[in-house]
């Protein structure tokens, strides 16, 4: 699949944003990882909303008719994209109220708790929907897997967690270790899931064949002689993207390093170091995560093969 930058930016930025919201809500619910008050709320929620909004805006760049984007909300009964849109919109007021409660320290524990629960629910649900947009497509083997939607959630939590860690350390001398620990846990879980994802897609039997796509298997092996047009069409530009195996493996290593190893190491170290250094480590973790997750998302598209390539000269998909 063609890795469109608008979509990569959208899913990674808003993913981190929703992840961050989850951590903020959790902290409202359980322990105050981040202190209340105007500055903290502005910074933390501001960051989350900025990421989410930037992502959403970026996603409309992908649209042929951005001015009609509002229409995308209408089909929530059937379309994961529509559901994502609806939930994204719902998340704004819910999380916004939580932010206000945080900022002005109002609302009491019950209301805050309810708002926090609702924020967690809508943010996670949004992430789930994003994942399901891809996971629901039977045409793309690398996406059509039970692992994909949870991965979106976990990666959101991990990237949001790293951000949360940074924000926490910016606002206070010490970040509660549990916060860092949970972020670390998310990274580790994400690492295992992503490794598992790659193993799965690498070992998955490629059962769709040119023979089945053309129905000509009874006559022997099917080979494309000439494509219908001598220059690539939309379908090939969009769905025919191919990344070299070697290149992909290198990029996977980069993801391992930037998205998992470096942030995890930074977080572990930051637990052991003093405020100054741990802040720097938190910052490094964030930058590294950003590089890692963008690469991960690029690969998520680039490595995904669409069955339609079977009509354009590929044997199996």
């Amino acid at each position: 699949m063609h890795p469109a930058y608008s979509v990569i930016l959208f899913t990674t930025a808003s993913g981190a944003g929703y992840g961050l919201l989850v951590w903020l809500a959790a902290s409202a619910l359980i322990v105050r990882f981040i202190p209340p008050g105007t500055m903290p709320a502005l910074l933390a929620f501001g960051m989350a909303f900025t990421l989410i909004t930037a992502g959403l805006i970026s996603s409309t760049l992908h649209l042929g008719r951005p001015e009609r984007a509002w229409r995308a909300m209408s089909q929530w009964r059937t379309s994961w994209l529509s559901r994502e849109g609806v939930l994204a919109i719902i998340t704004y007021p819910v999380a916004g109220l939580l932010g206000l409660a945080w900022m002005f320290e109002i609302g009491g524990p019950i209301l805050t708790g309810l708002l926090a629960l609702a924020t967690i629910a809508s943010a996670v649900a949004t992430l789930w929907c994003t994942g399901m947009i891809y996971a629901s497509l039977p045409t793309i083997r690398a996406w059509h897997m039970p692992l994909v939607a949870p991965l979106y959630i976990v990666l959101g939590l991990a990237t949001g967690g790293v951000l949360h860690n940074l924000i926490g350390r910016l606002l206070q001398e010490r970040m509660p270790p549990s916060a860092t620990g949970l972020a670390l846990a998310a990274i580790v879980v994400a690492y295992f899931m992503k490794s598992n994802y790659w193993e799965t897609i690498d070992s998955a039997a490629r059962t769709y064949t040119a023979e089945s796509a053309t129905g000509l298997g009874a006559y022997g092996k099917v080979r494309s002689l000439d494509p219908p047009h001598s220059r690539a069409n939309f379908v090939m530009r969009e769905m025919g993207y191919e990344v070299g195996r070697k290149h992909a493996l290198k990029l996977r290593q980069l993801v391992m390093l930037a998205l998992f190893a470096i942030p995890a190491a930074c977080l572990v170290l930051s637990l052991l170091t003093g405020p100054g250094l741990s802040l720097i480590l938190a910052l490094i973790a964030v930058v590294s995560t950003a590089v890692g997750v963008v690469t991960e998302r690029w690969l998520f598209f680039a490595e995904a093969e669409h069955v339609v390539v079977l009509y354009y000269g590929k044997d199996v998909a």
Partner: protein, 260 residues
């Protein structure tokens, strides 16, 4: 309604005969021509006189080679929307622009509400959705909905442009939901098949397989076997008409025949 209708009154679709298709592209260009000015207008093209000419086409003709050696064949393979019964291209659509008509099963994109998110093209297994870069909306085979019901046309012209144009008659149009229709009978008789059935979209369009190669002698080999001569051996003198030569035998036969 982006939800698919549970059941459609008709299942209009195409039946494409791969045994007869010669790959002439008439279905592709006539489709382009009709749709560039019809329901799907504009059907944009880019860099048309330049280095990278490409555009939106609702029907494209592939060429494949299948099998090897004596058993090998070349197959021309037109491909357009199959108007699936349970297509993901409809359910994924966030705007409802992509829909399947309850009336006849035609899958359409509403160009006034499509946002051009392209998700439906990802969901289609058959590469049948073509994004119109200039128009910013998704295009696809409409089954010529603006022809087949068009009351300004003579009744016999109310068929898709590609079907009307196809010079070999390899394309058939009709109601595949009606087992008594010509197309359904043709599919039954010729063992029409679905593309990528494992995808579960239940295509309405059917393809008719290339037929077993007809060998005219197969049924008649006995009749002709006797007539197949032994090789003419090289030792026979070229222009000899002496008794015993092939020519002499032939002329003796000719004489017999003509004097009957």
């Amino acid at each position: 309604m982006t939800a698919r209708p549970q059941i459609t009154r008709k299942k209009l679709g195409l039946v494409i005969d791969l045994d007869t298709c010669v790959g002439c592209q008439a279905c592709a260009t006539s489709c382009k021509e009709w749709n560039a000015g019809g329901y799907s207008a504009p059907l944009s093209d880019h860099d048309v006189y330049g280095a990278d000419p490409h555009g939106a086409w609702l029907n494209r003709v592939h060429n494949y080679e299948v099998g090897e050696g004596e058993a090998g064949r070349t197959v021309h393979f037109p491909r357009s929307c199959l108007h699936c019964e349970t297509p993901a291209c409809v359910t994924v659509c966030p705007t409802g622009a992509s829909y399947k008509r309850a009336e006849d099963g035609i899958v359409l994109v509403d160009p006034d509400t499509c946002i051009g998110c392209k998700l439906c093209s990802w969901a289609c297994a058959y590469g049948a959705r073509e994004y119109d870069y200039s128009h910013g909306v998704m295009k696809k085979c409409t089954l010529c909905v603006d022809r087949i019901y068009n009351e300004t046309f003579e009744p016999e012209d109310r068929v898709p442009a590609c079907v009307k144009a196809c010079p070999t008659g390899a394309r058939h149009f009709g109601d595949l939901g009606d087992p008594e229709s010509d197309v359904s009978k043709l599919v039954a008789q010729r063992e029409g098949f679905d593309l990528l059935p494992e995808m579960g979209f239940k295509p309405t369009n059917k393809y008719l397989p290339p037929r077993a190669k007809r060998d005219a002698t197969a049924a008649k080999r006995d009749a002709t076997a006797a007539a197949i001569s032994k090789p003419v051996v090289a030792s026979i003198k070229p222009t000899s008409t002496e008794a015993g030569s092939v020519s002499a035998k032939f002329f003796a036969w000719a004489d017999r025949v003509l004097s009957d």
